[in-house]
């Protein structure tokens, strides 16, 4: 096959692989406390340590542990947070918007139908520039009703203007929620953030992880400093009607803000790395230094893929993993820089974009590659819908296929549905 070597060069982009800049992160966490947490517990604990002013939420499986734990904190007087027990997710997000506009630090959590019910309000949160942080415990959407993990919920709202981050496990859920507040509240960003964790696989599985002390979280995350607020001291009109003369500019500014948030995501990820030893950013890669074939995915499946890739690499197979933390804004430049030496890439989507050429993640990947001159074969794998298990054997099959494609240049199937009965 013809393949142009290193045809794409990133310009002015700090490599996602390099060392963190030296000027960032002068402080270090004084201690790290080991413990056992489920993903949901980790989310609630992170929100507690972030000293959120207001929580407004509505329970839904598999997010329930988050709201239960937080209710315990409130009932036991462990937090100063005002908890608004909303009568629906629509109202939960509406209350979050109100509280955020008043200048409060706000946290909420939902899943599946709850996110779908919030859909309308999600656009208000981003359009009114409310730095709310929300844990989304990813779960399938009805019908048929199903309570288990897939990414249909978040993908259904992917254009809502929120920064969207995916965590692989409980540790990442904890770390990313703390970072999410810092990213959201940064003066140049002022946008809401979702931290996604897979239902049950992450939300209900107990893992050993490390948490920071309350004092260290305070050091990393100072109280919110709103740049405007709805308060009688500063009478302003928020949520005015913008007709064709103005609406477009507002939306364009919003797009600029989310694109520019990338530099903040990177800085905060680097800072957090220096602070805790666990560094974050746009994505994590494994084996890409010499890989011909790789798998790209989001969330908990990345753990399985990494483990299989390790085994295969031990056997001399040149395979790798691209795990996206940050799905929106899509880290186009960094992604291109990561994949430039690949021959084939399998993009695994845990949601169907009905009637579309590819699943949502694969559509992004193929758009990012457009006009770059890079010749990478793309395979799209739909997997794990409604909590269908994706065992290492399945991942091994995918690696076999993507390796074959890397060798022959031939794509057998544009989209393959993994582990599904005909």
């Amino acid at each position: 096959m013809s393949r142009r070597k290193r045809s794409y060069k990133t310009q002015g982009v700090v490599s996602y692989l390099g060392e963190a800049p030296k000027h960032i992160g002068k402080i270090k966490a004084s201690s790290q406390i080991p413990g056992a947490y489920t993903g949901d517990e980790a989310a609630a604990y992170a929100a507690k340590q972030c000293k959120v002013d207001v929580v407004a939420a509505y329970p839904i499986t598999p997010q329930t542990i988050i709201v239960e734990r937080f209710s315990d904190y409130v009932a036991d007087g462990e937090v100063d947070t005002k908890y608004l027990y909303a009568e629906s997710e629509h109202s939960a997000m509406s209350a979050c918007v109100g509280a955020s506009l008043a200048g409060a630090r706000v946290f909420t959590a939902t899943a599946s139908q709850g996110l779908a019910l919030m859909h309308e309000v999600l656009y208000l949160a981003s359009g009114l520039r409310c730095p709310i942080v929300m844990a989304v415990v990813n779960r399938a959407l009805s019908a048929p009703i199903n309570i288990h993990a897939d990414h249909s919920d978040m993908m259904g709202s992917r254009d809502c203007g929120w920064i969207q981050i995916y965590a692989e496990n409980a540790q990442e859920t904890y770390d990313l929620i703390i970072q999410a507040f810092k990213i959201a509240e940064e003066e140049t960003v002022q946008l809401p953030v979702t931290v996604n964790l897979d239902g049950f696989t992450v939300s209900h599985a107990t893992e050993s992880m490390k948490v920071l002390s309350d004092e260290d979280v305070d050091k990393f995350l100072p109280p919110r400093k709103p740049i405007f607020k709805v308060d009688p001291e500063t009478p302003i009109t928020v949520g005015a009607m913008a007709l064709p003369e103005y609406y477009y500019e507002v939306k364009r500014q919003q797009e600029e803000a989310i694109q520019k948030s990338k530099s903040v995501v990177k800085t905060v990820g680097d800072e957090y790395g220096k602070f805790t030893g666990r560094r974050y950013g746009f994505m994590e890669t494994f084996g890409l230094e010499d890989a011909d074939a790789a798998i790209m995915c989001l969330g908990s499946t990345c753990g399985t893929v990494r483990s299989v890739a390790k085994d295969l690499r031990a056997k001399g197979k040149k395979v790798g993993l691209i795990k996206l933390w940050m799905y929106r804004p899509f880290p186009t430049e960094e992604f291109l820089s990561a994949v430039e030496d690949l021959k084939a890439l399998a993009v695994m989507d845990r949601a169907i974009s009905f009637g579309a050429p590819y699943g949502a993640l694969c559509s992004d990947v193929s758009s990012a590659l457009q006009n770059t001159g890079m010749d990478i074969r793309i395979l799209n794998m739909i997997y794990g819908l409604g909590g269908r298990d994706t065992p290492p054997t399945t991942v091994r099959d995918v690696f076999d296929e993507v390796l074959k494609t890397a060798k022959t240049g031939k794509v057998k199937e544009r989209i393959r549905f993994l582990d599904v009965r005909d």
Binding site: D53, V54, A56, D80, T81, K82, L84, Y85, A86, E87, S88, H90, S91, A92, S94, A95, C96, V97, G98, A99, S100, L101, A102, G103, A104, V106, E120, V121, L124, L128, P223, V230, D231, P232, E233, T234, P235, I236, T237, V238, G239, A240, M241, A242, L243, Y246
Partner: protein, 308 residues
């Protein structure tokens, strides 16, 4: 009752907005804010008042004002209240803020009733004012749960076989009072002193309070803009829209019952009811009159007034 000369001169709601001549809701907003006792924030639902007072880059609001959506002001107002409380706990702000949630009848009776119910049940210290012009006027006069039986709207037209809107107007005050809150009132912009007093009482009550105010819409009612206040009075005087308070569950009539004006006098000033006065809908009119009378008697009974 507050006298005209005693009303504050401040106008938190500025002139120059784009609401219609004779707009009842606009009058209801101006009057309500005359009852403000201190720093006040308004949370406005989507509707005529919202779209016509804040066309960017202009605003008619001299106090903080928030609009997000149509059906969620109960929740947004609750969020604001909790935020002020939390920020005060942390020493980041000081002082009481009165929060007024302002919605039309569509945003209150129908699409927003869940958020309103949640707000009342949780006990937020918010005054909810529903300005009722008895249909979705902002979108062009479609029937709502507040549209009275027989009224013609664009979605409940007076057809050859169906004479306008079917079904009764919801008992909003009763629904709100059923949440066990301590203050609910119905009012009319035709009785401004009574209305302003009620808003002030609602503000002074700790916890949630609801004021349901009738505010005619000349465009939707197909009435003379100069008759807005007259119609707002007549709605009360015909017994169609009794004004009362429900204080800790006890009904108290605001206007001593006297001889009622015949309903036809009220109906004939409005194009939306013109079909009811035609001979072919005589039975329908009679049936509506009986319903109005029964409902009025029910309220009299609840208020402990003699029912004749």
């Amino acid at each position: 009752m507050v006298a005209l000369k005693d009303l504050p001169k401040e106008e938190p709601y500025a002139p120059g907005h784009r609401l219609c001549a004779g707009c009842g809701p606009s009058i209801s907003v101006r009057m309500a804010l005359k009852a403000a006792r201190g720093p006040t924030v308004v949370v406005n639902a989507t509707g005529c008042v919202e779209v016509s007072t804040t066309i960017y880059p202009y605003t008619a609001w001299r106090i903080p004002w928030v609009h997000t959506l149509f059906e969620n002001i109960g929740a947004v107002a609750g969020g604001l209240e909790y935020a002020y409380e939390a920020l005060e706990r942390r020493g980041q702000r000081k002082g009481k803020v009165d929060i007024i949630a302002l919605g039309g009848d569509g945003g209150t009776f129908d699409i927003g009733i869940q958020a309103l119910s949640g707000m009342l049940e949780r006990g937020h210290d918010v005054v909810y004012i529903c300005y009722d012009n008895e249909a979705y006027m902002n979108t062009g006069i479609q029937r709502s749960g507040a549209t009275p039986r027989g009224a013609a709207t664009t979605t409940s037209p007076a057809g050859k076989v169906i004479p306008g809107k079917r079904g009764k107007k919801k008992d909003l005050a009763g629904i709100c009072a059923a949440h066990g809150i301590s203050y609910v009132a119905t009012a009319s912009i035709g009785f401004f002193g009574d209305y302003i007093d009620k808003v002030r009482r609602a503000i002074e009550v700790e916890g949630p309070a609801v004021v349901h105010v009738l505010a005619p819409c000349p465009l939707g009612w197909r009435s003379n803009p100069a008759d807005t206040i007259k119609l707002a009075k007549m709605a009360v005087q015909t017994g169609l829209f009794p004004i009362y308070e429900i204080i800790d569950g006890k009904y108290k009539l605001s206007l001593k019952p006297g001889r009622l004006i015949p309903l036809e006098e009220y109906l004939k000033l409005q194009g939306r009811f013109s079909h009811l006065l035609k001979p072919e809908f005589k039975d329908e009119l009679e049936s509506i009159k009986r319903e109005v009378e029964d409902e009025y008697k029910r309220i009299l009974g609840l208020a402990g007034e003699p029912v004749t």
